[in-house]
């Protein structure tokens, strides 16, 4: 079982490395970064306490929001999904991403 999990993971990574365009990989890296930041904040809060609560909230929600918007962008850019996003070009998706991020961080 451990072996199968390990082999699945290895296989996944290999497929991922070859199958995804670099553009998407860049985006994935960004998403990973955001996720790590959010998780670290949450862990700190669990460990040390919720003071100051406002800061924790804003940081965490910013991380979560950014992650979600990044995911949206990834979905929209992915050529394999072109069928579902007829009217939205990747450029348009990127512009939306920027706009939404601005509003989020306002």
């Amino acid at each position: 079982a451990a072996g199968s999990v390990g082999s699945v993971v290895r296989r996944f990574l290999a497929e991922y490395g070859s199958g995804t365009s670099s553009r998407l990989k860049v985006l994935d890296a960004y998403l990973l970064y955001v996720m790590l930041t959010g998780a670290l904040q949450f862990g700190y809060c669990l460990g040390v306490g919720t003071f100051p609560f406002n800061s924790f909230l804003s940081g965490f929600i910013s991380a979560v929001g950014s992650f979600i918007l990044g995911v949206c962008l990834r979905i929209q850019i992915n050529p394999q999904n072109k069928g579902e996003f007829q009217g939205i070009s990747p450029e348009r998706a990127f512009a939306d991403f920027l706009f939404a991020n601005t509003i989020l961080h306002l």
Binding site: A29, L32, Y33, T37, L40, Q41, S89
Partner: protein, 674 residues
């Protein structure tokens, strides 16, 4: 319906006639006197069944408990002066002149310069207006030596106005003018026009004017229909608290109604269908207004005053004590002012005291005594019967004219006297009663020589008697206090001396019992005796003696603190909110570094993947886009440090717009390239 209408002079309250006091039946039902409770409108003599009916009515009155009302407002001399001043303003126009001239005439006064008034009226009359002719006619009739000739056209105009097509006001003015000018008038036609209009115009003012108009018509015409309107109007009056009766349209309308009702009643010869209580309530309402905003208001009150003072049926009587209602040996005479509503003394009346009862014992002290007229005031020497001091209930009645109403009042009179203290004995009584008490007699107002001691062996005792100086009887005043004042600390303690069965006042000071009142403060106290009462003319504050009081040693407090309530209280320290516990700085700093590590990871990953900016084209829009975007991020930072949201939105809108356009262009180019 109890009432105490504001002080008259000395704060002695009025009282209404109690309902259970039987009205003298003979007075009510005597033949020849004005019947007040019989069938309305008829004033004929009584037959035997009528007398029986009257007795029944008297019994019913007892049961119903109707209480007669005392007038609360009338025109005092000052009010009269104010009313006169309000009416004596210089004339502005004909209507103002009418109000002034006729108003002053109702009060029994004359205009200052009659000739000038007459000329004013004659020069301002407008022969084409019925109203103007009415004002002129009424004014001229009142002024002496004022004549005017009426042209035929004017007469035709006035006669034409008396028809069903004119309003009641027009008919009133036309009839009034014709009558005052002495011109012939067809009463029957006027009456039919009036009746026809009355059915169309139902408001109060129109009905009042109809009453006035009818008083100008000949008595041959059947005016009973109009006379019945008086009753209808009375039913429309609003009862305010049982004290006032007035129309909702206001005092002016109420006053005009009173004047018109009596004018018509006098003209027709029928008593107006108003009960005595209603007339008094009307009076209260009309004369409650002391300042007049408009000339017409002053005029209406003047007319009402005039009609309530001179009519054939009802004359309200106002009975007021002259000064405070109090008598004493210095001032033994009770003086009453008996006037009509305009404060004119009714010197022809006979004023009688029905009874005078002591308020406390209810024993009748005096009855059926007449007041004597002295000048314009009625007097009675009450001290002749040597009453004991206290309050007395007087019932006074005014007779002399059948028309008097409100002519019985109840009055509370105070009889004052002077008090004397006798048999004042100060003694120290031994507690074991082994030694005989030492008694010292003191006479008021001297002070006892030597001082007295009260301590754990002996009590201090005081006894005295209070008598009425003039009659020698024992007195029990309201306030008999013994005050002990500590000379050093300023403490004072007050006790009440109580009388025993023989009316001898006693006071005893036991140091062990009274420790707490004194706070166990030993020392020399001055003793004062305080005697006071509302009926005493000489209240007493007498320093009788010095008393040395010694309290047992163990109870002496460390310091005798005066209970000063006005020192600053101990300060309350504000407790600030405890700041929350924070983690040590080391941990926070470590974490901050930790947070930045994913960023490092991101950069490494990006480089590994091969993200680059090789496709960067230096087109203007691209540069603008990137600059705009950078600026927006910078704006975010500034927002965090300085700005508020609205300012940020403003800047963001500008930057955002620019960036958007540039970005649009850039991305479009990119798309084309692709």
């Amino acid at each position: 319906m109890s009432s105490s209408f504001g002080a008259r002079g000395a704060g002695v309250p009025w009282r209404t006639t109690p309902s259970l006091r039987p009205p003298p039946v003979t007075r009510w039902c005597a033949p020849g006197r004005k019947r007040r409770r019989g069938p309305a409108g008829s004033g004929n003599k009584m037959a035997a069944p009528g007398r029986r009916l009257c007795l029944v009515a008297a019994l019913l009155l007892l049961l119903v408990g109707a209480q007669a009302l005392a007038p609360s407002h009338h025109l005092t001399a000052r009010d009269l002066a104010r009313l006169r001043a309000a009416l004596e303003r210089p004339f502005t126009d004909l209507q103002a002149a009418y109000y002034s001239i006729v108003g002053l005439h109702s009060l029994g006064l004359r205009v200052a310069d009659e000739k000038a008034a007459c000329n004013f009226v004659k020069s301002h009359v407008d022969s084409s207006s019925v109203d103007s002719l009415f004002y002129a006619a009424q004014s001229i009739r009142v002024l002496s030596g004022c004549e005017v000739t009426i042209s035929n056209e004017t007469r035709e105009l006035l006669l034409a106005a008396v028809s069903e097509d004119s309003s009641i006001t027009q008919i009133f003015h036309a009839v009034g003018a014709l009558s005052s000018f002495g011109l012939p008038l067809a009463s029957q036609e006027a009456l039919s026009a009036l009746t026809a209009r009355l059915s169309k115009e139902e408001n109060v003012l129109a009905t009042i004017q109809a009453l006035e108009t009818a008083s100008y018509l000949s008595q041959q015409a059947d005016l009973s229909g109009i006379v019945e309107e008086i009753e209808d109007l009375v039913a429309r009056l609003d009862d305010l608290g049982g004290v006032y009766l007035q129309f909702e349209e206001g005092i002016e309308t109420t006053a005009l109604f009173a004047a018109a009702a009596y004018k018509l009643s006098d003209h027709v010869g029928t008593e107006p269908a108003m009960k005595e209580e209603q007339i008094i309530q009307l009076m209260n309402a009309i004369f409650s207004k002391k300042n007049f905003e408009t000339l017409s208001e002053a005029f209406s009150v003047a007319c009402a005053a005039g009609s309530l003072s001179h009519n054939r049926y009802h004359l309200p009587v106002v009975i007021v004590p002259d000064g405070p209602a109090a008598v004493s040996h210095h001032q033994p005479v009770l003086r009453l002012q008996v006037t009509n509503v305009m404060s004119k003394p009714l010197t022809q009346a006979s004023v009688k005291l029905d009874y005078a009862k002591s308020a406390s014992t209810k024993a009748t002290v005096l009855q059926q005594t007449a007041f004597t007229l002295s000048g314009e005031v009625f007097e009675l020497n009450f001290m002749n019967v040597k009453p004991a001091s206290g309050y007395y209930d007087f019932s006074i009645s005014v007779d002399g004219d059948n028309r008097f109403i409100a002519n019985r009042v109840e009055l509370k009179v105070k009889v004052s006297t002077e008090v004397g203290i006798t048999n004042v004995d100060l003694s120290t009584v031994d507690k074991d009663q082994s030694i005989a008490p030492k008694t010292t007699r003191v006479a008021y107002p001297a002070k006892a020589k030597g001082s007295f001691t009260a301590d754990s062996h002996q009590n201090f005792a005081l006894s005295f008697q209070l008598i009425d100086v003039n009659s020698g009887a024992d007195l029990i005043p309201h306030q008999t206090f013994v005050r002990l004042h500590n000379q050093k600390t300023g403490q004072e303690v007050v006790f009440v001396a109580e009388p025993d069965s023989k009316n001898v006042y006693k006071f005893e000071l036991d140091t062990s019992e009274r420790k707490t009142e004194f706070d166990s403060a030993s020392g020399t106290y001055t003793l004062y005796l305080i005697i006071g009462d509302a009926t005493l003319e000489n209240p007493i504050l007498w320093n009788v003696a010095d008393v040395v009081i010694k309290f047992p040693e163990e109870d002496v407090p460390s310091t005798v603190q005066s209970k000063n309530l006005f020192v600053p209280k101990p300060e309350i320290k504000h407790l600030f909110r405890e700041p929350e516990k924070r983690p040590p700085t080391v941990v926070s700093n470590t974490f901050t570094a930790l947070i930045l590590s994913p960023l490092l990871l991101l950069l490494i990953l990006w480089i590994k993947i091969g993200a680059n900016i090789s496709n960067f084209s230096f087109a203007p829009s691209t540069i603008v886009f990137h600059m705009g975007h950078a600026a927006m991020l910078g704006l975010m930072y500034v927002y965090w440090t300085q700005l508020n949201m609205f300012q940020t939105l403003k800047y963001l809108a500008i930057l955002g717009g620019v960036t958007f356009l540039a970005g649009n262009r850039m991305l479009a180019q990119k798309a084309v390239k692709r």
